[in-house]
């Protein structure tokens, strides 16, 4: 299964999921993304910047490695989940509608990230 397939499968499995993206927080680059409608490059770049910001905050407060892999950002309109592979800069970003099931997204996202990281 390709990276693109995995991202698409995850997006299909999560209700109200708009974007699933895989990127490198250190390089600040989204490497691949799956989305229903067209998402401008600037939006993907801003997701990458926010992921880097969240992980930098997690490192600064000394979050333990097992827990540092997760950050959730909620706004008026959507929820954004960032999951980072342990000791790696790889991260997965899941953007869903405001009232989506965060726990389901975190669980399924972690599973997908493990598969992607393991496959590489």
């Amino acid at each position: 299964m390709t990276l693109e397939d995995r991202l698409h499968t995850l997006r299909s499995a999560l209700p109200n999921c708009q974007v699933v993206a895989f990127g490198d927080a250190q390089a600040r680059l989204i490497l691949k993304a799956s989305h229903a409608s067209l998402v401008p490059r600037e939006v993907l770049d801003s997701l990458c910047a926010e992921a880097a910001e969240c992980f930098a905050t997690a490192d600064r407060i000394g979050a333990t490695p097992a827990q540092a892999s997760e950050a959730v950002v909620l706004t008026d309109e959507e929820s954004r989940i960032y999951l980072r592979a342990q000791n790696r800069a790889d991260f997965l970003c899941i953007v869903s509608q405001r009232q989506s099931n965060l726990d389901l997204a975190v669980t399924q996202g972690t599973h997908t990230l493990q598969r992607i990281s393991g496959a590489e």
């Binding site: 910047a49 880097a52 910001e53 969240c54 930098a56 905050t57 997690a58 600064r60 407060i61 000394g62 979050a63 333990t64 827990q67 540092a68 997760e70 950050a71 959730v72 950002v73 909620l74 706004t75 008026d76 309109e77 405001r98 009232q99 965060l102």
Partner: protein, 258 residues
Amino acid sequence: MIAPRHQKPTKGPVLSDAAEREMLHQLATKRVPTYGVWRSVASEAEVLSEIVTEIGETLLARRIRVTARNSAAVADMTVSNRHLVTLEGIRTSETLETAEAVVQALAQEFVSAEALKFEIIARAPKLTHTARSWPHVVLHEAFQARGAAQDCARTSLIREFEDMALSWINLTAHEENGDANQLALLKKITVALPSQGHGTTPLQCNQPRLTLIPIDETMLFAEMCLNHTRVQLTANIHDRARLVTRWQALSAGSQTET
């Protein structure tokens, strides 16, 4: 014939202070007609302000279509003499009777709009003979009241989150409360905020936002940006669901209640 010297001054419409201030502000602001081009909007208040201002500036009868760039949202407004005469095209199950209902429907329709476009689709539309229309002043007041109600709900939520927290720092009000060690932990982030020093952009606080990051198996870090107030806190990890639920309820409320 000589005109009478002591003629009574002509009376204009009675306006509230806020409406008068808004009108003076509009007079002082040079506005270029921008039909057919995208106008960026960053919040619900900006969306409503654009639409209500457009109504207030339309004297001759016009049918105006409002569209959003990033969604299918659309509203067809018939406006005449600074009155909204009809509002069509929006997806709402509510009966539009009061100005509050109109403002609410517009807010809901353009909830995720990042840019709006106004187009005149008819220059002399047939006006329906109805007793009901919504004057600009009344719509403006409904818009202001909606903003005030939201501010109040948001301020309450900030207090609620501070009560739920183990420790918190309100960076805007320069207040703090809680355990010294946890406050020291929060200040590590606060100190890093202005420059960050890691090549990252400082956390922005101009849009409502709640960030949750687990610290360990018992505690989480949260940062809330609301009403231009930034609060950082530590909370019990078991309160995560409660924080999320309250936040989502506020977001839902801002889009469904007036």
